[in-house]
Symmetry: C2
Subunit: 293 residues, 2 copies
Amino acid sequence: MEIRQLHYFLKLCNELHFSEAAYQLGISQPTLSQQIRVLEDEVGVPLFDRMGKKTEKTEAGAILEHYAMQAVRQLENAKQAIADLTAMNAGSLRVAVLPSDLDYRLTALLIEFHKEFPRTKVQVVPSLNIVNQVLDNEVDIGVGLSAKPDSRLHRTPFYTETYSLYIRQDHPLAERNVISVEDLGAVPLVMYPKGFYGRDLIDAWCLERQTSIDALMETGSAASLFQLVQAGIGGTIQPSRLIESLRSTDIRSVPIQDSPVRDLEIVYRNDKYVSLAAKTFIRRLETFFQGDG
Amino acid sequence: MEIRQLHYFLKLCNELHFSEAAYQLGISQPTLSQQIRVLEDEVGVPLFDRMGKKTEKTEAGAILEHYAMQAVRQLENAKQAIADLTAMNAGSLRVAVLPSDLDYRLTALLIEFHKEFPRTKVQVVPSLNIVNQVLDNEVDIGVGLSAKPDSRLHRTPFYTETYSLYIRQDHPLAERNVISVEDLGAVPLVMYPKGFYGRDLIDAWCLERQTSIDALMETGSAASLFQLVQAGIGGTIQPSRLIESLRSTDIRSVPIQDSPVRDLEIVYRNDKYVSLAAKTFIRRLETFFQGDG
DNA sequence: AAAAACGATAGTATAATCCTATACATAAGG
DNA sequence: CCTTATGTATAGGATTATACTATCGTTTTT
């Protein structure tokens, strides 16, 4: 029993006329007769009574018609659902991002994306191990720092970020237009702990310049760092663009001269299908940062 | 999209392992890969993510799985329903019979048949034109008098009936064991009108014997004839076996010597499928009359 | 680094589907 | 009653789809 045969069968149920049904189906009449015969052999009973020139459904034919219509409809629904999915009317998307990016930047993008595609479920997970989550298929795409090349991953750099010093407006350096590496030694700093990318990057940058920073306080959360800054504990070094999402008038960002940089990129498994939802999300992400920077 | 492919697909959804699914399906792994590919080409998106050794469903795969399961289930239901039908657990049967037979004999058979196959709908229509009703497919089978051969009809004689005189017990002839054609002339008779088979048969029989009957009263209903007999109006000539279903102790039946006979037969279109319900009904009908006579 | 596991690909054999031509049967018309 | 028209089944052959075996390329495991 095949779908094709059921289509033939259902057409014949409507027409009750082999030649006419075959014509409408675009096949020859003998082919229709044969395929109906195959169906009848399979169910074991005739589906139609061929009485001279009149053709009528048998009981079994009426029963099969009922169920076959439902089955065919189910499969049409499936095709439509999948079409909707690829047409970005539905579907889902899992994204792994750096926690600080999620807290301070991506939310605006998510809101914008949702307005455009309200039926697409987007799940964003903060992660410090984005590449592994992508490799393990725990997420569809990852947005994070440039990692070492991997043949299994497709990587698309989309933004190069500079760093700024974030400090409360009543601090002397808050008035400056730019900060040098030497200036940083004179500021009490609150930073990520060692081992965090956002900390190690700064440490390496300082090391290149024969200096080092002395962190007064360390926390693993960007939000807490900014609260410490706002409390006047000290300054912190964070990506420059974060300030635009930061709703605090008390904190100023001062660009760092010859700043350390980090490259943000989009990663996904190169053997994984990139849904239209994912494609569109990536495109929005790129324009979001381009328009922002 | 074919049922076979959906079966392959659903198995693969369960196993998430091409080789294993192919083994369970009894096909080769390349065949499974190819057929899944065909499905994917048809819906336009991958149904599985082949990620190295791990295989997982895509969104589209999950959607199709849901609908495909329902579709396959519908078709299984259809097969079961048809199987039930042929297994005489359901179905329907339309029978045309002579009115008098229905009134006086077949009801017992119907009760018996229903006990054995309670889910089979049986529709019995009294008819004076059984052959035409069979030819027009208004009924599935007909039970009636032997008609002239027709190449479109399948005919199975199952009973040859003799006739008796039915008369009230207080009539002198009620004591006799047998009645001759001459005796009939001395009895007031109530009969079917001319043109009814049950009347014309008797008239022809009398004509062969150089006599004729004089009907005192004529009605088209066997029931009314018996009521007339019971009222003492006269006797009537009816098939011998009717008495056994006749619940009147006032009426006696006396066999007629060298009786006229009528052949009862089962007719159905030879191009019409004889359902198991019909087959069984026919068999019960035959044993019913054999056991009765 | 070698081996094993897994899926994709290539090439070919088999089977199913489809077509044309024609036969057979029934209903309709002169 | 015979002829014609209509409708379906059958036969034979062409095409397509499906299946297999053998093998390759990757990825994971030992």
